[in-house]
Each structure stands twice: as C-alpha cells, then as structure tokens.
C-alpha cells in the first residue's frame, strides 16, 4: 500500500540523464543549477534525532528463536538478521526474518516470517500466503533480484544448507536452492549479492563461520575467570563461498582461480560488496571474528587480491585483529570513498577506518569519539544514515553480549545492553542520550541484526531490529520534516554510488548488498540537507561504469532512476 508522502511519479525520459538513463520522479522545469539555501524566508525546523519504539502498534507480535536459554553453545548466540524488501511491489518495505531453531531440532524451527507492510506502520503476517516454509536454522539474509525479473528475491544464510527463495511476482516465493546450485554446507552467517565479474548480473558471496559439529559440541571454556562456551578460538573456521551467476537462474561455485582460497579460512560473520577503490570492479569486504578482516579487491575477471593485511583495514591501529560483527559504510570525511565502521566485541573498541582514496585505511576511531565509549559493549548491527536529515550521516549500533552470565562485575559488560546512537558533528560522533533520542535508548536488549529503511514513506530512515530470543522491534524515526531526497535505483544497481550536491556540499551514498549484521536494508540512498533546499544535483555512478546526471532534482521526494 503506497503511503509515501513524497512524490513518486514515473517520467520516462530526461534530456539531462546521461548514458541512456531514465529517471522517474517529479521533475519540473530543469534549467538551472541546484538551489539549496536560496529560498528566501524559508527556514527548516531544527534537526531532531529521535526514535520511538512503535512495535506494539505495528501488529508484529513475534519473538525469535535461537537455541535454548541460557545458551550453552556458540551456535545459540549469534542470532541473525532480517531483510527489508518490497516483495509485493506495492512501493513500501516489507519485513522478512529467517529465524533460527534449536540444537535439538536445527531443521525444524518455528520458521521464517514475512510481514507485509500495510501502511501507517502496520504490518500483517503474510508468511503462509507467501508460501514461505523455511524452518531450518537461519541466520543472515540478503535481498536482491538475482534473476532480473523485476522481483526481489531472498537468499538465507543458514546452519546447514542455505536457501535461495525466488520471488515469483505473485506474492509468493519458491525455494530454488538446489536448481540454482547455491546450497552450501557450512554454518553461514551472512551473504551479499554483487556483480563481481561485470557481466551485468548478480553474483553471490557467502561468508561462513565455524565448522561446528552439532552432535559433538565443544567442551566449555572460560572468559575472565567465568565459565563460558568455547569459540570461536579453538574451533575450526569455515571457508567462504563465492558463486558466479551463469544465467537462467543458475550459479556456479567458483574455486581456487579466484585467489580467495589462497587465504586461510576465517571466522566470517559479515560481508559487503562494493567498489572500495573505485577502479570499476566490485570488491568483497569480509568481517571476521577474532581474526583480521579481509578486503578482496576484484579485478573483474574472477580473480581477487587480499589487501587488508597491508592497507590498514584488516586490524585496528594497534595491529589487533578484532571480532567484527557489524559493518557500516559511510563517507565520514567526505572524500567520496567508502569508509568502514566495524562493531566489535566488548573490552575492545568499535573501529572506524577512513578510506584514503582506496589505497590505505587509517584507523581514526578515537579521534572521532567512537572508541572507549563502546568498550563495554558487544556490537552488532550498525548503520550510517542521516537520521535527522541535517546533511551528514549519523551512526546507530545495536549491542548485546554473547555470554548469558555476563555482568559488569564478572566481564565488565552486561548480557543485555543498550543501543548506541551517535550524532555526527564536524569531526566527531557524539552519543545521543535517551532524553534527546528517545526512551528506547535506555531499554536493554540482546540485539543482533537490524535493517534500515523508510518504512512509512515520510522521508526519514526507520529501523527494524532483531533481538536474540526476543521480540522484533520497530523504531520509528521522528525526524522533523526537513528537506530530504531518497534515490532509488532500478535494475543492476547494487554497487552504485550516488552523489548529491546542494551547491554547498556534496554527499555520497552507496547502494550495497550486505553490511549491518546479517541483514539487508533498503537499497535506496537517503539524503538530508543542512540548509533549506528546493532542488539538488544528483549523479549516479552505476557499477557498469555508466554515469547518470540529473542537474536539478526537487527535494522531498523519492527519485527512481534506471541505467537501462
């Protein structure tokens, strides 16, 4: 049901769109440059960074299942994520949750869930209607139209065989895993789609965690003197999988020729596909638990080179391999290259690496105020978004420990922890307290995945967060109505960069698959603006190398563009 406040009207052509591009959106006379801050007498309300937990009124009454409580094995504490996708093509974002199971019956959990957006932040459980019957222990999910039929599909990373759920376009899905050849056999946590070979279709990367034998789980270990389950250290890491889309709904598993296997297997928990060095080829970032992170630079010919060991991205400034769970991409220093934020374990900081023109990554965590304030927290889903629509990207991080016996007295951290919301200032992120940001910041959870997107079509980015063995929560963004723009790309858009200039400032966003934690967020680029702004210049750099330019796009709308 369409409830978007902004304009969303399709226009077939624009003389200003380059490279055979089409633009959809409300485009009045397009004659002059972007006009921000030029509206005499126009003022904007102050930026407001505030969310409200509206779960109770959404109609969503769902508690996830990930093993028993208290957890006794590492399999039970990683949780999973969720996807925001418009599965029924009605213009709004629906919610898909893979859900887990129990160690006693890992194939027979309560099953995945699909919540259809009915508008007004009301959702209806459409799992049965959509013929979704996945009951295997699921973790991560990524949503993309892998077969190019115009309908968004789902790939679910599971403990055991993964699942490719093809969207049939009639409101239902079909499990096509076997035909597609993307089952895998590991404990997979996250996956991402991207055009790794530049042939125009979406390939698939799956990050796997541990070779975990559920029939013979490892004996307990200890942490800070307290008894805990073992892992990941002491267990065997599982190698990641990469699949080439060979058309007709089929994939081929790629092997040693990629160079990926030259790297020893790692405890992979997250992945994200993007052109990090802007050389025209999509790259793969992998976040690992207790081991260095990896950046595989793609050459477009199914060969990759791991560079994180030398370019600074693999570890923090002290050389320490961290335990990366969450991944967020943003342009913190405004140089047009994607910077990388990773959320990590407690007794460690989260880390922000600034991308120095694709060659090096500098750990600037402390300088940007993102270090010690998060030291007690185990960080998971993370996202850079301009939540308050003031022209820069803020940061949200969800937390929750893995050890049920975690207390401040025993482990310097609690099992249930608050989320962290940071406001971006000039050269610093500052924590937003509950008085300003909302009561939800004081509630304690054991959160894992989260997906970000404009659920109610009001131009700001809302959040859906998943708690380990807890309720799915919907956080409504209460940003005041300032100028905004959402850019939605059609077709082979994953991996695109969107640049928007208001005359005073140029902002970059990336349309990426992966990130957050095990989740799939809305694939639109959201922008806010510091000053009153009637129109802006939009530039889309597609993964196929084409560029589309829209010199004067009115704000307060969703712009839809395609590279076709």
């Amino acid at each position: 049901m369409k409830r978007f406040r902004g304009f969303r009207q399709r226009i077939r052509s624009s003389p200003y769109a380059g490279s055979r591009s089409r633009i959809w959106g409300w485009l009045p006379v397009v004659l002059c440059a972007a006009s921000c801050g030029s509206s005499e007498g126009t003022t904007l309300p102050p930026a407001r960074l505030h969310f409200t937990d509206v779960t109770a009124s959404t109609g969503i009454d769902f508690v996830t299942t990930f093993g028993q409580e208290p957890a006794t094995q590492i399999l039970e504490v990683k949780g999973g994520g969720l996807a925001l996708l418009d599965y029924d093509g009605d213009g709004d974002l629906d919610i898909f949750v893979p859900n887990g199971a129990t160690m006693a019956k890992p194939e027979e959990g309560p099953g995945c869930r699909l919540f259809e957006n009915q508008g007004g932040l009301r959702f209806r459980d459409s799992t049965k209607a959509a013929k979704l019957q996945l009951t295997r222990w699921g973790a991560g999910v990524t949503a993309a139209d892998y077969d190019g039929d115009g309908h968004v599909d789902l790939y679910v990373a599971c403990f055991g065989s993964n699942a490719l759920l093809r969207n049939l376009g009639n409101g239902s899905f079909e499990d096509v895993t076997e035909q597609a050849g993307v089952a895998g056999q590991s404990w997979s946590i996250a996956a991402a789609f991207g055009d790794l070979d530049g042939d125009g279709d979406l390939d698939l990367f799956v990050t796997n965690y541990i070779d975990f034998d559920i029939a013979h789980p490892p004996a307990p270990s200890s942490f800070k003197g307290a008894p805990v389950f073992t892992g990941p250290m002491g267990l065997i890491p599982a190698a990641d999988d990469v699949y080439e889309n060979i058309g007709h709904g089929r994939f081929r598993k790629r092997g040693p020729e990629t160079g990926l296997e030259a790297q020893p297997p790692a405890f992979g928990l997250g992945t994200l596909i993007l052109d990090f060095d802007r050389d025209g080829h999509q790259d793969i970032f992998v976040g690992n638990d207790s081991m260095g992170n990896q950046l595989f630079l793609g050459r477009g010919d199914w060969t990759f080179k791991e560079v994180a060991k030398t370019n600074g991205l693999g570890v923090n400034v002290y050389g320490s391999a961290q335990s990366t769970m969450g991944i967020a991409i943003g342009d913190v220093n405004g140089n047009g290259f994607p910077d990388v934020f990773t959320s990590n374990f407690s007794n460690d900081t989260n880390t922000l690496h600034i991308n120095r023109e694709g060659r090096f990554y500098d750990d600037v965590t402390a300088r940007f105020g993102l270090g010690m304030v998060a030291f007690p927290y185990v960080g998971w889903a993370s996202g850079f978004y301009d939540f308050d629509l003031d022209g820069d990207e803020d940061l949200m991080v969800f937390n929750g420990h893995v050890y049920p016996n975690a207390t401040c007295e025993v482990m310097d951290a609690e099992f249930k922890e608050p989320a962290l919301l940071y406001r971006k200032g000039q050269e610093r992120f500052s924590l937003v307290n509950a008085m300003e940001g909302g009561d939800w910041l004081e509630s304690l959870h054991c959160d894992r995945g989260a997906a970000f997107g404009d659920l109610d079509g009001d131009g700001d980015v809302d959040v859906v967060v998943l708690e380990l063995n807890g309720p799915l929560r919907v956080l409504r963004n209460d940003a005041l109505q300032r100028n905004w723009l959402a850019v939605e790309l059609e077709g082979a858009a994953l991996g695109s960069r969107v640049r928007v200039s208001d005359g005073a400032q140029t902002q970059s966003r990336w349309i990426a698959s992966g990130g957050s934690f095990a989740s799939s967020s809305e694939t639109a680029a959201h922008f806010g603006f510091e000053a009153p702004c009637e129109s802006v210049r939009v530039e889309v750099l597609w993964p196929n190398g084409k560029t589309s330019v829209f010199p004067k796009v009115p704000t307060n709308q969703r712009l839809r563009a395609s590279s076709d």
Partner: protein, 273 residues
C-alpha cells in the same frame, strides 16, 4: 607511577611522592592543560598491616582470589578500611574485572579521600569501562596529589583524543614527554624504569599524527617509541602503516614482520597482548 611511590602509597614504604619528580614549569605548548590547585602533601599512609601485606604478596604473585579472600577477611574485621578495600579492588582490577573493582576503589576513597593511589586505579577502571568523564576527573584528582607523574598525562591525553580534542591530547603528550625529560636528570633510575611509559607517550603522539594524516611526524614519534622500548609491539604495527603511506615498502614490511613475529611469540608463549 614509579614503583617506589606505588609501594609508599600502598603503605609499603618507598619515597615521598611529591618529591619524586619536580613539578615542571608549564610550557606554552601545554598552556591549555587545566591548572590544578596545589594540594598539601598528604601524610604517608599507615603501613599495611601484616594481613594486607600478605594479601598484597598474593596479588603480586597472581593469586588474585587468595589475596582477595585475605583482604575480605581483614575488611570483615575492620569495616570500611581503605587499604582493605583497595586490596580487594586490586584483586579484581588485576584480573581485568574493572566493573567489580570499581566499587571497592570508591569505598577506599570514601574512607580516606587522601589515599591518592586509589584515584589512579579508579581512573583506569573507569576508562576501561568506557566512562571517560569519570576517568578524567579521577586522573585529575590523582594529578593534584602527584603533579609530576608523566603517565597520568599520557592517560589524560588519550582521554582527550577520545573526546576529539587532538590539540589538548597533544598538549598532554608533550607535557608527559617534558616530564620524562626532567625525570631523566632528576632521577635517572626511575627514568630507566619508565621506558615503556616513555615509549607509550611517543607512540600515542605518533598515533595522533597518524590519524591526522601527518605521516612524517607520526614516523618520527613511532620510530622513537620502537627504539626506546621494542617491547611495544603495537607501535611497530602502526609504524609499518606509516611507512607504507610514505611509500617506504621495505621498511613497512620489516616493521610488520617484527610486529607479527613478536605477536606470534606472545601468543605461543601464552601471553597474548
């Protein structure tokens, strides 16, 4: 804090903390460091009673639970005793349980606000619990008792760096280095013992320059850090990154190799960083 002062402040004998390092004249580069009101030197703490001396020996030997039990037994007989509370706090602190240590440090200070060594531990516990404002306040309290302790300035600089005040952080690091310089002349033995802290001050300064993209300056500081104290292996890693950005790939590879081999040795030896 130097070992002698630590012993004294615990009531185990040692030196006069106010006399260990002369208070430096503030330089222009450190002008933004807040001035603190001079505090009269507190009387030395009472010597540790035998039961707590035993507890301290246990803690020093890594027998944290045994030391804690001894201190707890003493505390049961002497409720609110500052030294016993500090010992119990230390038994947690040294086991990396800072959340458990904190209330004991606070209790020690409540019983005796002039038991100043406690501020140092409490500050570090707060820092490691992510409570930077509290950590800063306690370091300043400690500084008011022991104004010439270089390590305190390094810690305060790190806090300011976390607060996105790189200029003030640099001022603290510079002040620490200046204090080390003074210490070299006034107390060469103490200076010799504090080489790891001196290296740390240079390393922090190097990291500050690194984050600002000032790679030549970062190189200078990190080369000093690694030269002064090769055991500071993380400085080798950071230095390798600096070399790489400066196009010195051979030096970068060498520093990275050194870091990796030392790191592996520590892991193999059961003492990961």
């Amino acid at each position: 804090m130097g070992l002698a002062c630590l012993l004294l402040s615990l009531g185990l004998g040692g030196c006069d903390p106010s006399a260990e390092v002369p208070v430096p004249e503030s330089s222009s580069s450190a002008s933004s460091i807040p001035a603190l009101a001079a505090r009269p030197t507190p009387p030395p703490p009472a010597p540790l009673p035998a039961a707590l001396r035993s507890a301290y020996r246990d803690l020093s030997a890594g027998q944290f639970e045994r030391g804690r039990s001894a201190a707890q037994a003493y505390l049961a007989l002497h409720p609110g005793d500052a030294q016993a509370n500090l010992m119990i706090g230390l038994s947690f602190f040294k086991a990396d349980n800072h959340g458990a240590a904190r209330p004991y440090f606070e209790a020690a200070l409540e019983a005796d606000p002039e038991y100043y060594i406690t501020y140092d531990y409490l500050a570090e516990a707060c820092f490691l619990l992510g409570e930077l404002e509290a950590a800063r306040a306690h370091y300043h309290s400690f500084r008011s008792f022991v104004p010439g302790e270089p390590r305190t300035y390094v810690r305060l600089g790190v806090i300011e760096l976390e607060q996105s005040r790189p200029e003030l952080a640099a001022a603290y690091f510079r002040e620490a280095l200046s204090l080390f310089d003074a210490l070299q002349h006034s107390d060469p033995r103490s200076y010799g013992r504090q080489q790891p802290e001196l290296a740390s001050a240079h390393a922090r300064m190097g990291e500050l320059h690194f984050a600002a993209g000032e790679y030549e300056l970062a190189r200078t500081e990190l080369e000093q850090a690694t030269g002064i104290w090769p055991g500071n292996i993380s400085a080798f890693y950071t230095l390798s990154q600096v070399y790489r950005r400066l196009g010195e790939d051979e030096l970068a590879d060498g520093a990275a190799r050194h870091y990796e081999s030392e790191r592996q040795q520590r892991i193999d030896g059961g003492t990961p960083k």
